[in-house]
Structure formats: C-alpha cells, structure tokens
C-alpha cells in the first residue's frame, strides 16, 4: 500500500511516505488536537476533526512540498477544517435553537498549574485566565486562531502566517486587536 502511494509523490512527500504514517500521527496528534480543542472549545468535535485532519493529510500527502514544517502543514489543515466546521455550525439554526450545540464553557480556567502559589494567588490568576478566555471567545475565529497559535503554541509570526495562509502583516493586525480585547477585559476585573 505504501509503495503504491510513494510512486505518485514528490520528493518531500516521499520522505514522509517512507516514514511510518502512524509515527507521524503519534508525534503530532497532541498539538493538532490541542489547537482544535482551543479553537472549537468542544472536546468531541476536536476529537473528530483531529481524525479528519490526519485522514486529509494522508490523502493529500502528494501536495505537501516541504516548504513549511510538517507540523505547520498539519495545523493548516486543522485550521481549514475548523473554519468549515464553524461555517456549518453557523448554518445549523435548528441545532442551536434546540440547544444541541456544543457546550462552549472554557474548561481551561479550572486547569491552572498550581505550582507553589498561595490559594489567593491561584484565585487571582484564575480570574485573569477567565478574562483572557472570555476575550478570546469574543474574537473572530481567524483572530482566535492567531492568538492561540501565538500564546498557547508559542509559534513565530511567520509560522502562524504559513499555518493560516495569511501575510505576516495580517497576523500582526489580528494579534494587536486580540491583545486590545484582552487588555480591556483585564482592566474590567
């Protein structure tokens, strides 16, 4: 099966095909899943779209030219899937009306690493994180994706631009607006 696939691929993809695709899944599934989970705030959908992301990657391996890292390419597929998913969800009026839409509570607030902080410090930090989560929730999906890739995945601006198919200037604009929203939320605490 892998041999048949390899014959149709370019050099960059050939290297990947030579590797075990399962190995690629194991190496990158956590990051792809985390990105989708943060973006969609729906664990079930994040799980489904992670699977879909790797399936698409496998089917389109021939289009990977190696211009970006494999991880950036996978995040790009994930971002496109999330965007399509959001469009479909917007269209499903009845789903929202009947309350079948995913629970949009951000579970991240309850998952602060406590370290050696005092209970008071943890409480304050939790408030800050809640404010950032709320601000992120009010961003457009594109802005949220940029914001999350920068401050959770700690990616460079050019990597974010490649992953989201944007110009670096647009990435900066999105980040700037996102930070303004976050600061205004933090001010209101």
């Amino acid at each position: 099966m892998e041999n048949a696939l390899t014959s149709t691929l370019g050099t960059a993809a050939q290297k990947i095909a030579a590797e075990d695709f399962d190995g690629i899944v194991r190496r990158h599934q956590r990051r792809v899943h985390r990105f989708l989970l943060m973006l969609l705030r729906d664990p079930e959908e994040a799980d489904n779209l992670t699977q879909e992301c790797f399936l698409r990657a496998y089917q389109n391996l021939s289009s990977f030219r190696g211009e970006s890292s494999l991880e950036t390419w996978l995040l790009r597929i994930a971002a496109n899937l999330a965007r399509d998913h959001a469009r479909n969800r917007k269209a499903s009026f009845w789903k929202r009306l009947l309350g079948l839409d995913g629970d949009e509570d951000d579970g991240a607030v309850e998952h602060l690493p406590s370290g050696q902080a005092s209970p008071e410090q943890i409480l304050l930090a939790r408030e800050d994180v809640r404010a950032v989560c709320e601000a992120a929730g009010q961003l457009s999906q594109q802005q949220r994706a940029v914001f999350l890739l920068r401050f959770v995945e700690e990616m460079e601006l050019n990597e974010i631009a490649t992953a989201l198919d944007l110009q670096v200037g647009s990435v900066k604009t999105h980040l700037f607006r996102a930070l303004q929203g976050v600061r205004s939320k933090l001010r209101n605490l």
Partner: protein, 171 residues
C-alpha cells in the same frame, strides 16, 4: 488591574505583537507601561499553561485516537481501490446505455408506423364494403334480401320479377 486607561496603551500591544524598537524603548522606561506589560504577559502565560494542561489526555486516549485514524486510513484506501475497480465497469455500462438510447429512436418509428398503416387499410376496406352493400345487393344475396323484405312486410314492385323467377324455380 486598575480601571485607568494607560495613555501609552497601544505601545504595550505593539511590544507584545512584534519587536518594535521605539515601543520597546518607551515601555522599558515608563513605569505604568512596564507594569501593564508584565501583568498582560503573566495573564497570557497563565492562559497558555492552563490550555496546555486542559488539553492533556491519558496515554490510552492517544492510542485509541491513533487506532481510529489508522482504521479511517485503511477504509479510505480500500474505498479508493474499489472505485478504481468499479470505474471501468461503470464506464462500460454507461457506454452500453448510450448505445441503447441512440438505437431506440431508429426502431420505434418503424414499430409505430405499421399499426397505423394497417388501421388505415382496414378502415378503407370497411368503407368499401359498406359502400358496395348500400349501392347494390349482389346477385347471390338477392334471395336473402327478399326473405328479409317479406318478414318486414314490404314487397317493392321492382322485386316482383325476382319473385316470379323464384316461383318458376320452385315449379
């Protein structure tokens, strides 16, 4: 964080978004901006850490997910293979269908024309018989017409000669 607006607000964002020498220089020497930057950076750091923590899953979760991805991959591969096998057969079927459609109009008009011709000739024949019966009774049917006329009580004058002929035959 206080509710007061920092007069140098956008500079803090500019520093956090990308390297900006002028903004960096200002924030480094402005105490309120410095405090805001630290506060914002800390909140963002906590946000990132909380999200990374939240997305943690047990090893079994990742193994199950990898297995599902593998199964999806195999399913998609076998689907692609069956499409490759079925495509020529479907093509042949389509070709046969097109051939049938092209032939059908040539056969149909012939089949439909025959009954109309037949119907026309039948109709004409019937009309001819009717006309013949109405215009004149054939010689061989003359006795029968006489019997019919008698039973109706009609004895037309022109038929008397025929009656005499019949009597002479009887004698």
């Amino acid at each position: 964080m206080n509710n007061e607006q920092n007069a140098h607000d956008p500079l803090v964002e500019r520093v956090l978004v990308s390297f900006d020498l002028a903004a960096e220089h200002h924030v480094a020497h402005c105490e309120p901006c410095q405090a805001e930057r630290e506060k914002l950076e800390e909140a963002l750091r906590q946000f990132g850490a909380a999200n990374r923590e939240y997305s943690m899953r047990p090893e079994s979760f990742w193994e199950q997910q990898a297995a599902r991805i593998r199964a999806n991959r195999h399913r998609s591969h076998s689907r692609a293979r069956s499409v490759a096998v079925l495509a020529p057969a479907l093509g042949a079927l389509l070709f046969a269908g097109i051939l049938l459609v092209h032939r059908a109009p040539q056969v149909k008009p012939e089949a439909q024309a025959l009954p109309t011709v037949q119907a026309d000739s039948d109709h004409e024949l019937l009309l001819a018989v009717e006309r013949a019966v109405e215009s004149d009774t054939p010689q061989a049917l003359a006795p029968v017409t006489l019997i019919v006329d008698e039973s109706d009580g009609n004895f037309p004058l022109e038929k008397t000669s025929s009656k005499k002929e019949m009597q002479s035959h009887a004698n």
